[in-house]
Amino acid sequence: MYLTRLALTDFRSWAVADVSLEPGVTVFSGPNGEGKTNLVEAVGYVATLGSHRAAQDAPLVRRGAERAVLRAAVTSTDGSSILEIEVNPGRANRVRLNRAPLTRPREILGVLRTVLFAPEDLALVKGDPGERRRFLDDLLVAMAPRYAAVRGDYDRVLRQRSALLKSAGLKSGRSAQARDAIAATLDVWDAHLARTGAELLVGRERLVRALRPLVERSYTAVVGAQGPAAIAYRRSFGEAAPGGTGNTAERQNAEKSAGTRGAELGMAEAGLRDALADARTSELDRGVCLVGPHRDELELFIREMPARGYASHGESWSLALALRLASFDLLRAGREDPVLILDDVFAELDAGRRDRLAALVAGAEQVLVTAAAPADVPPVLAGARFTISGGVLTRAG
């Protein structure tokens, strides 16, 4: 798929911007602070309803403006679509697809698919586990938009259960009767957390299994030499000890038909339930939810050592690129290419890695590149060029 047009109103630094785009490579260049990244950030927002740079929507709206409007025209094998998003910070965004308003904004997910490489990706390797969970969940949604609902449900169960644990902690001095009442309510939330949590957990584990060989291959391709990188998914709870408090008959049943998705779900749900039962006392003591996919980790290794803490800056960068390249490979497998966005990534790489990365992505259906200096962009990525200067976008070739 590819974008044919991007039009922005009051988005970040742009009062108005309107660009016609073609398949192939497009390079946006210009001095720092002119709004190159804002353009590709808008593309990412239309695809995912979120920004790679801001957790909240407020910074996306130009200072002094009330709302931002993003419009994108996309051509894919299904035909062309027009996507429109009105970003209203603090209120619900309004989303239209082909001029028809959508009742739920998330219905637009999947119409435009992107893979975005940005300097912020370094946090995938060096940052908190939350960054890596977000990476997995975003990719899961891009692969199967259904997971947007799963993720939303899980967040809601988690919030409810956390609120209960917190208030239960305050009441812990009360009578045995009060504690029983809290335990009975917690049981209900445990069941719901285990059910939705299992769905998210199995989705992520399957994703990591598919991603693992692709990450290894991409890392080797970027580094240009054998550089064994590996990824693994680690649950926040171990396998429950045999004879635990859980429903063993159910687990045995699940194990019999192991291999199918349903069986995996059943086992994950039983495992989560057992782990929640085991953690009950410490959860009540601390007033937080200690078990579940929100505490899991995507582990990254380089030469069998944890990347976080052991890898050099250059290695971390290459691993972050490998994660994005692997997502791109996964998203394009058997389907059309997502739009590939390279936001300011070449400046950080040495000439060898720069050329190898360019060669890997040059074949994509559409590539959008931003760079402060056009000379940083390897020649293999030749195509349309735009320069930005003084807030004006000009086609340069």
Binding site: Q160, R161, L164, S167, A181, A184, T185
Partner: protein
């Protein structure tokens, strides 16, 4: 902004559910232009409703006496209780005219975020109603969202030792609708709860 009393009325109307600032303004000016007698009748109705409407001491539904019409009706089936969240859910179920049992209004659903736990709902009253053995079936018609499901699960576990028949209305495809318009969650539930077509 308008002068004193008009703005005051607009502000008050704007606090009602489903009424925004534009709507509040529209209603306010409609009232100004209307026959004063009509407006007085509306005002009287508003006062009357706050003074006269109470909650049924048995089921928690809105009532004008100690008990509501449904609880006082001797033709109702005493062996079935349908548990709902709000009085307006009673009205919705009454519209089907099929259900002949009685109701129990909880006054909400379990939601720790909002500080609502089992103690804040009329669950103790429900247990008292169930204790004498007249009731044999409990229908848990709380909302089909996360909080409603959690409340239903909680109640089902609570009454399990009593050996009642506990049921929950089915979730699935809307009647007269198109399959293609159902969202994925509803459709998923509908597939889960599919039944044998006996011909």
């Amino acid at each position: 902004m308008y002068e004193g009393v008009i703005q005051h009325l607009i502000d008050e109307l704007g606090r009602l559910p489903g009424v925004g600032p534009k709507g509040a303004q529209r209603i306010a000016f409609h009232l100004l232009a209307a026959d004063p007698e009509d407006v007085k009748r509306l005002a009287a109705a508003l006062v009357e409703v706050t003074e006269r409407v109470r909650f049924c001491r048995t089921c928690g539904n809105v009532a004008e006496a100690d008990e509501c019409r449904i609880c006082l009706d001797p033709r109702r089936d005493l062996s079935v209780i349908c548990v709902v969240e709000e009085p307006k859910d009673v009205a919705a179920i009454e519209k089907i005219r099929e259900f002949r049992g009685r109701y129990h209004v909880l006054g909400g659903a379990i939601s720790p975020i909002d500080g609502v736990g089992p103690d804040e709902l009329r669950i103790r009253e429900l247990m008292t109603r169930l204790s004498d053995g007249t009731v044999t079936e409990l229908i848990l018609a709380t909302d089909p969202n996360l909080e409603g499901e959690a409340t239903a699960t909680y109640l089902a576990r609570l009454v399990k030792p009593m050996g009642l028949r506990v049921t929950r209305p089915a979730s699935g495809l809307p009647v007269g609708g198109d399959l293609e318009y159902a969202d994925e969650v509803t459709l998923g539930r509908a597939f889960e709860g599919r039944r044998l077509l006996d011909v």
